[in-house]
């Protein structure tokens, strides 16, 4: 089972609902966030194009943050979700430096925190908080191993890209362009 997320940049309006929903759902302390929204504008007035992406931890298959964690606090559970075990993390922050997407942060209580694909919801069969709140329904979550899951069909139908694939981490957040 390989969970992944697809974000349709054609529909995302950059409203940051996913950011607030994640903060509220997971009690992320104010001043920190597990996901964020990027607006990439290119061209010159009036020939412009704008791509809006909601970014978070990519739950990489070859995750540098899991490789470099000395206490195995940062580990991959089944479904490919990268989680941090709060009681095993000593806060050496090696994983923060090793993540090319800057998707981790130090929780005021000391351990390192990150997006967990809302594993407590996914285990109950629900979608992550950000996917279930997105007003433009532009975020899809599912199992890419299962060929007829919604996300697999989308990845077959649509053009997509991932963030800095050349960093070698095999990210699992796909941006439909």
């Amino acid at each position: 089972m390989r969970y992944a997320m697809a974000i349709d940049t054609k529909k995302c309006v950059g409203c940051s609902d996913c950011v607030v929903a994640c903060q509220v759902e997971n009690n992320v302390p104010i001043g920190h966030c597990r996901d964020w929204v990027v607006e990439a504008t290119s061209g010159t007035y009036p020939d412009l194009s704008l791509e809006i992406r909601s970014e978070r931890c990519n739950h990489c298959t070859n995750a540098p943050c899991v490789r470099c964690c000395p206490t195995e606090a940062s580990h991959i559970v089944d479904g490919g979700i990268v989680v941090v075990d709060h009681d095993e993390c000593i806060g050496c922050k090696a994983c923060i430096t090793s993540c090319p997407y800057d998707a981790r942060f130090v929780h005021p209580e000391g351990y390192v925190d990150k997006c967990t694909f809302c594993i407590h919801r996914v285990e109950k069969g629900e979608n992550p908080a950000c996917v279930s709140v997105c007003p433009t329904k532009c975020m899809y979550f599912g199992d890419t191993d299962d060929p007829n899951s919604e996300i697999s069909q989308l990845l077959r139908k649509r053009k997509w890209k991932t963030l800095i694939p050349e960093a070698g981490t095999e990210p699992n957040i796909y941006y439909l362009t």
């Binding site: 964020w36 470099c68 195995e72 922050k93 430096t97 993540c99 090319p100 209580e109 390192v112």
Partner: protein, 313 residues
């Protein structure tokens, strides 16, 4: 014009606007690791070659500092941990792929060895010293026979510790400036030259000072070569590496690196040592202190520059 802006106000402390998770603790800890590796390496090598009497400070006196230095280094590392109460988790498993893990284990092994090693020599350095307890005396005598093997073990472990400080950084492919294999040997040589400098500083015997001055010269030579090799490697790397190199060739770290680390920490002390070897009267502690300072500054700048180099926006 490409404009990539985070519009949802991401401002995670220590990560935005650019990464600054490792303050002064980790560079200090790496410097201490290098210094201790240098001292122990020299003292172990010269014990194996049976030269402990020709170079008393190197073999006997310098290791005295290592337990204290290691304590300092470890406390700096502990200070840096943000989840301090769980630090013992480091020793719940060995993770070969994570330099931080086998670095911690090397420290765990090297620390008692350093204490025992300095305990062995304490008698020669402080004759008046007596172990209050009887069983301690004969316990040390028993260990004395294994001194040879301990020396070998210490030599290998100090090399591993010296290399670990570099490889810890080079394992992060997310930070282009750190992601070069040359950092390992560079930090090893820098640690050895710091060790040699400290020994030069402490030693009273003229012969010893001259030997370590010559060793230090050679180490500084290799260090300079490795630094040039580092930058040539970057300039021939991918564009993120080129950008990382540009931080030092015109970017924000240019003058602080080339002036403090390269000139102040390497070239100038090398010239001083050369003059010393040519018998020109120069107070020897200047070059030693400069080398130590250069080595510390090298680590500070490498850690800061690494966190400033990035892939994304």
């Amino acid at each position: 014009m490409i404009e990539e802006v985070i519009v949802s106000g991401r401002s995670n402390p220590e990560i935005d606007p650019y990464l600054h998770v490792w303050g002064w603790e980790i560079p200090f800890y790496l410097f201490i690791g290098g210094l201790v590796a240098g001292i122990l390496f020299f003292s172990a090598v010269y014990t194996i070659r049976g030269k402990q009497d020709d170079y008393p400070t190197a073999v006997k006196f310098a290791p005295m500092f290592t337990p204290l230095l290691l304590a300092l280094g470890l406390s700096a590392l502990l200070l840096d941990l943000s989840h301090k109460l769980y630090f013992w988790q480091l020793y719940t498993n060995i993770r070969w792929e994570s330099p931080m893990s086998w670095g911690a284990w090397t420290l765990m092994i090297i620390y008692p060895l350093a204490i025992v090693w300095s305990a062995l020599w304490i008698k020669d350095v402080f004759p008046k010293w007596d172990w209050k307890f009887k069983w301690l005396e004969d316990w040390i005598e028993i260990i004395r026979q294994y001194q040879k093997y301990m020396a070998w073990a210490l030599m290998v472990l100090s090399i591993v510790l010296g290399m670990y400080t570099g490889i810890l950084l080079s394992a992060f492919n997310a930070r282009p400036f750190w992601n070069t294999a040359i950092l390992g040997p560079l930090f090893l040589t820098s640690g050895l030259s710091a060790g040699a400098a400290l020994i030069m500083l402490l030693s009273k015997k003229e012969g010893e000072k001259r030997l370590f001055a010559r060793i230090d010269l050679m180490l500084i030579g290799t260090e300079l070569f490795l630094i040039i090799h580092l930058f040539m490697g970057f300039l021939a790397g991918t564009n993120v590496h080129i950008e990382a190199a540009r931080l030092f060739l015109g970017g924000e770290f240019t003058n602080s690196f080339w002036i403090f680390v390269v000139f102040g920490g390497l070239i100038f002390p090398a010239i001083l040592e050369l003059l010393e070897l040519r018998k020109i009267k120069i107070p020897h502690y200047i070059s030693a202190i400069l080398v130590l300072f250069g080595s510390l500054a090298l680590r500070f700048i490498v850690v800061d520059a690494g966190q400033a180099s990035r892939w994304l926006y």
